[in-house]
């Protein structure tokens, strides 16, 4: 592999992981507020289908994108409404919505499979794209990639550097305490579940309008689950989540590369590689193993390592909050 090929591979990895980054950011916002939206896979399928079909009918990608956001927001709203208002298990609702999205998208999109449609145009940033090596990787990309990176930064800012972000996190960590301090926990949860859902909708649209153009049955199947896994891997932090998404894209690229280099080894080994790696990584970050590894490291490196490896979910994740009635 020579240099220009390497640059191209890196650029394609970024492009492939950009929608995952968007979906991961959306889900992180949702989960930080205490709601688990398990319907990601179905939501992305529905959003991808809607974006393509609406975009095709209106002949305008922005309309398609808006429609996809609306679909994503709607799915997230159903999960939030079902868990907050109807007190149902959000896991069950999310799961059933996954199945629903899968079938509904296949049904509604059946007349639009494998036809050309609107496409997001390639957009190189002038001046910056001429930086050697970094330019072609980061700044000679599609709009999706810029948006993904921007979103990661914005999500981080929102979560950790603003007051609404503090309220959002408090609703997910200690809802009772937040409520006592005057935060309307359930309203916060509704708001950020819907916002996160809309972002997941954008991620779905990014596939059908840019990365994997067009629509086919089960267009993005499986990717929603990957995004959910990356949220956990990323420890509910947008920056680490983005790293996780890029790592996943990289393992896939690596698998393809290895397959070309060692054609005699079965394809199965390489196709299973990303999944096995993810199980391994989950094992590493969620168990005591990470703590032991950190203990081996030199003392100076221990604190940053711990910050990097330790994962703890929002304390009230997946628990419904019922306001205490004071009488």
């Amino acid at each position: 592999m020579n240099n220009s090929e390497l640059v191209q591979t890196l650029a394609s990895i970024l492009l492939a992981s950009a929608p995952l980054m968007i979906a991961v950011c959306g889900e992180i916002i949702t989960e930080r507020s205490g709601i688990v939206n398990l319907s990601l896979d179905g939501t992305m399928l529905m959003a991808a289908m809607t974006a393509f079909v609406v975009g095709l009918k209106a002949d305008n990608i922005w309309v398609g994108l808006l429609a996809a956001m609306a679909v994503g927001a709607l799915f997230a709203f159903i999960v939030a409404f079902g868990s907050i208002r109807l007190r149902q298990s959000m896991f069950a609702i999310g799961f059933v919505l996954t199945l629903l999205g899968d079938d509904l998208s296949a049904f509604l999109g059946q007349n639009y499979t494998r036809i050309p449609g609107p496409v997001v145009k390639h957009f190189a940033i002038p001046v910056l794209k001429d930086i050697p090596i970094l330019g072609p990787i980061f700044f000679d990309q599609d709009a999706v990639v810029y948006f993904a990176f921007l979103l990661v930064g914005l999500t981080w800012l929102l979560l950790f550097r603003t007051q609404p972000g503090l309220r959002l996190r408090s609703a997910g960590e200690r809802p009772e305490a937040a409520f006592a301090r005057g935060v309307d926990v359930n309203r916060v949860r509704y708001l950020y579940a819907v916002l996160g859902g809309a972002l997941v909708g954008i991620a779905g649209a990014a596939y059908s309008l840019d990365i994997k153009i067009g629509w086919s049955d089960g267009h993005t199947r499986g990717l929603g689950w990957i995004a959910l896994a990356i949220v956990i891997f990323g420890g509910w932090s947008p920056v680490r989540g983005a790293v996780g998404a890029i790592l996943f894209g990289a393992t896939k690229a690596l698998a393809t590369f290895l397959q070309r280099t060692f054609p005699e080894v079965s394809v199965v080994a390489f196709n299973s590689l990303p999944w096995l790696l993810m199980i391994g990584v989950l094992l590493l970050v969620s168990s005591e193993v990470s703590e032991r590894l950190i203990a081996i490291a030199p003392r100076a490196a221990q604190r940053p390592l711990r910050r990097m490896l330790r994962v703890s979910p929002p304390r009230a994740l997946g628990a419904t909050f019922v306001e205490e009635r004071t009488s």
């Binding site: 059933v96 629903l100 509904l104 959910l228 989950l282 969620s286």
Partner: protein, 364 residues
């Protein structure tokens, strides 16, 4: 209304028991609205549904045959969810069970049927147990989220299946043909599960119903089952009560996988008599691993509840084909109906709480 039922607890019980059916009716009503919006005649569609599912002896038998793997998977899901672990890996466990059962059948083509069939079903059961046990152990001892690890295991199982069916296990006939369809040779006819002639109904359905009874006994009448439920309700309290929590988490996921594996074996020996793949899991499983979860939830995680709910759900695919033939094809309705019934059904808990509160208020 709650007060009324609190005054007449017996009527309340009847109402609660009827709720799933009311929910289904409500879902069907909403389905009818959607059908009208799609420009189809709901009366015609629903009569096609009934006809396709229960219209004739053959249709009824087909419905039962299609319901069998769902029931088996759902039984496993009952155990897992009662144990507080969420098993999304039914697909993978089903595939692994089917592959291992097929391997047994292909390895001993001359064995007598009475010996081989139990052996093959047992191997499917065990393979599923292993595939469910791995995420179980990861969850219990390494705190790895089981929702994610079971999904990863699904993907790995599918990769393994594709590998075996395209290589080692491929039908010699297909190997010579240019098309090379990835499927195994047909298993010896002596291994077919006994059938209720002239329909397609096979022994597996009876087996599944027996399994449902066994699962009920296991969960509600044995110590181990009690412990699994206790761990599911409150792991901390269970630990203080002296229950070895990790062990029971592993056991719950392991048994859950085992029943999915058994479902795979039954599908091979009762229906397809061979293993095949279209590259994804759904080609062979028909998403039974996922739909089984819906069945179990709809049946409120109780083996007895799984049976009727399964009828309602599984009868619909036949309906789907019928309607597709009439060029209306509202595939979505199938899942919409499922989802809605499920949503309505869950209102039951709401009602029960309300009943309890009303009764308490009356007594005090």
């Amino acid at each position: 209304m709650w007060v009324f039922f609190a005054k007449h607890p017996r009527l309340g019980i009847i109402f609660t028991a009827l709720l799933p059916f009311l929910a289904t009716l409500a879902a069907l009503a909403i389905g009818a609205v959607m059908l009208i919006l799609l420009g189809a005649d709901p009366v015609e569609a629903y009569s096609a549904l009934v006809e396709g599912a229960f219209g004739s002896q053959n249709a009824l038998a087909d419905t039962l045959v299609k319901a069998t793997p769902l029931l088996l998977v759902a039984l496993g899901i009952c155990i897992a969810f009662r144990g507080g672990v969420i098993n999304i890996g039914g697909e993978g466990q089903l595939v692994v069970g089917a592959v291992s059962a097929t391997l047994v059948g292909l390895s001993f083509p001359d064995a007598p049927g009475w010996l081989l069939i139990p052996l093959a079903l047992a191997s499917g059961f065990l393979a599923g147990a292993v595939w469910g046990g791995i995420p179980g152990a990861l969850k219990a001892y390494f705190n790895v989220n089981e929702i994610l690890s079971t999904i990863m295991m699904n993907q790995i199982a599918v990769q393994g299946m594709n590998f075996l069916l395209r290589g080692l296990m491929i039908d010699p006939v297909q190997l010579e043909a240019a098309s090379r369809i990835p499927q195994t040779a047909r298993l010896a006819e002596a291994f077919d599960l006994p059938r209720l002639v002239p329909t397609r109904l096979h022994l597996g359905t009876g087996l599944a119903i027996i399994a449902a009874v066994l699962v009920f006994i296991f969960l509600w009448r044995t110590t181990v089952g009690y412990r699994i439920r206790a761990v599911g309700l409150n792991p901390k309290a269970s630990r203080y009560a002296g229950i070895h929590v990790p062990r029971h988490i592993v056991l719950a996921l392991l048994l859950s996988g085992a029943f999915a594996g058994l479902a795979g074996a039954v599908q091979v020996y009762g229906v397809h008599h061979r293993m095949f793949t279209d590259g994804s899991a759904t080609g062979f499983t028909g998403s039974a691993g996922f739909n089984g979860i819906v069945v179990a939830l709809f049946g409120q995680l109780h083996p007895s509840g799984c049976n009727p709910s399964l009828f309602l759900i599984r009868s619909t695919p036949g309906w789907r084909e019928q309607i597709a033939a009439r060029d209306a094809s509202p595939i979505c309705l199938y899942h919409c109906a499922q989802w809605l019934s499920r949503g309505f059904c869950r209102c039951q808990r709401h009602l029960e709480t309300a009943l309890g509160t009303a009764a308490r208020e009356r007594n005090s």
